[in-house]
Amino acid sequence: MSQFAINILFVGGSFLLYIVIAIWAKAGSTSDFYVAGGGVHPITNGAAIGADWMSAASFISMAGLIAAGGYSNSTFLMGWTGGYVLLAMLLAPYLRKFGKFTVPEFIGDRYYSDNARLVAVICLIVASVTYVIGQMAGAGVAFSRFLEVDSTMGLMIAAVVVFLYAVLGGMKGITYTQVAQYCVLIVAYTIPAVFISLQLTGNPIPGLGMFSTHTESGMPLLTKLNQVITDLGFNEYTADVDNKLNMVLFTLSLMIGTAGLPHVIIRFFTVPKVADARWSGGWALVFIALLYLTAPAVASMARLNLMTTIYPDGTDAAPILYEDRPNWVKEWEITGLIQYEDKNSDGRIQLYNDSEAFQSEAQARGWEGNELVVNRDILVLANPEIANLPGWVIGLIAAGGLAAALSTAAGLLLAISSAVSHDLIKGRINPNISDKGELLAARISMAVAIVVATYLGANPPGFAAQVVALAFGIAAASLFPVLMMGIFSKRVNNVGAISGMLAGLTFTLVYIFVYKGWLFIPGTNNLADTPENWVLGISPLSIGAVGAVVNFAVAFAVSKSTAEPPAEIQELVESVRYPRGAGSASDH
């Protein structure tokens, strides 16, 4: 069977599974649509959160980032997991006790203000829409590489599948497809990693393999990797970083941002009890960790594999001839994600770090510049080919990448559509709408959101690459602090919350725009985005944590100088703190 046929089989098979689940889990009420009827088991919810959370960024990009940055990019590993500690202790159980359908609804009720709710809706929509574009674009890449279809065509197919299970089933359909998608993506991620770990270290568990002995050289794998890459002028893989403040703030921004992202928070509304919300936080992190503990192993091993592929006889010997390059290099050259230029016309591939410090050694070896550029996003997708694994593993990776992108997209689309139908339409425009009418409105807004996301995924605006900074910045600086203060402080009032949200958001956006361009329009940035220009060495990606502090400070200061919240609001805060009496999430 050809590779193309195998890929079709795996991707088609997984899509068929999602559609079957969609038909089985059709939503009959708004409660089904928004919170899956509130009867999801905590372990099931944990797996669904895992798929909801692990996006194309986690599945496709993260290992590549770590491979390129080594220790310094550990920030993603800690940042995207540490947020669950905050969620499980500071937000999820109390918001579950509150027992409503959406995040803005809590903010509107707690701060007795429709304006606060509206600000929350806007933050939610901007964060989620920017995030969903990345997922659709990621799905497009996976389609064009593995199914040899035009990426727009691929996106259309993906959109129809998401449409079926998200519009029909709402949260109920999404929950059970996410569980299936979690299984697909974790199997797809783990299998090639296990083979590669066996090949390099003889240890079948990749997470342990990266800290064990490299069979061929007899030295620890990471020592070997450090040696190989420093021989070629790169920094040590495990090298410490100088700018610790920025590393701390970036990790903190990712953690707070993770805890404040609405599409993750609403998943906690689907469990029957407050205690279950706590447990599902733990289970979610277990399911996430299965991938996140393997990712650094994939990163280090793939980096070593790449180097030894180019320098089969060691870094002192001549690199491989371009003619002899392995098949996977040829395949990825077609997509333009691997580029080769024979600068010194010796027919060989010189891959090294073109730095000042390495200049003299490169000259001595007759090298005239680095000749191979490898896009770091292909690392996970090319992994099975690099390790010479059979064709079905490649098919599995294709299905896994799509599962990661689609499950996250569906979660985000649900957060968007429920904000529109529940917070805007029912909350503001037509409060007397019937349950049936609201369900229809939810389905229509979901459908519109899918169309918009598909369009933006096929024509990604220039800022698509900056999405992470924006989505996490907004979630960290606006949503997380007001949610937390809404539970842990009785004193913070409506004016305080709104001023806090706006101050945190404005501060964060301005700092990002000054370096990245206003509304990300190229050329409109006031300062070049380089470390010398950053205030105290804080990168625009790390500013969300500072924005959160601004939000807290402004909210407290303003609340102190204005009237305290009315008695019934203080009662509400009291009530979310105690688990007893939590019915399933409802409208009333």
Partner: protein
């Protein structure tokens, strides 16, 4: 549970204490061992590198899991002790 009662207050304090303790460990393994204190731990070798590197790439994640399950387990006990658990 319109609780200004003595017990409700103590329940909330017990929760805050547990959260505070958990977050100290949370910060210690990630911001501490993995980042700021890494040079101090450089002498402790782990599979070809040092303990700080391990905490940055795996150790902190494993600690986070233990923290959440510990919190869930302790809180359920505290819920029962103060009689605020769900039926």
């Amino acid at each position: 549970m319109s609780g200004h009662s003595y017990d409700a207050e103590n329940y909330w304090k017990a929760n805050l204490r547990l959260i505070f303790g958990s977050l100290i460990v949370w910060a210690l393994v990630s911001y501490g061992f993995a980042i700021l204190l890494r040079p101090m731990l450089a002498g402790i070798p782990v599979g070809g590198t040092d303990l700080g590197f391990w905490f940055a790439q795996q150790g902190s994640i494993l600690t986070f899991i233990v923290l959440i399950f510990h919190y869930a387990w302790r809180m359920n006990k505290i819920d029962e002790k103060f009689g605020v658990h769900e039926e």
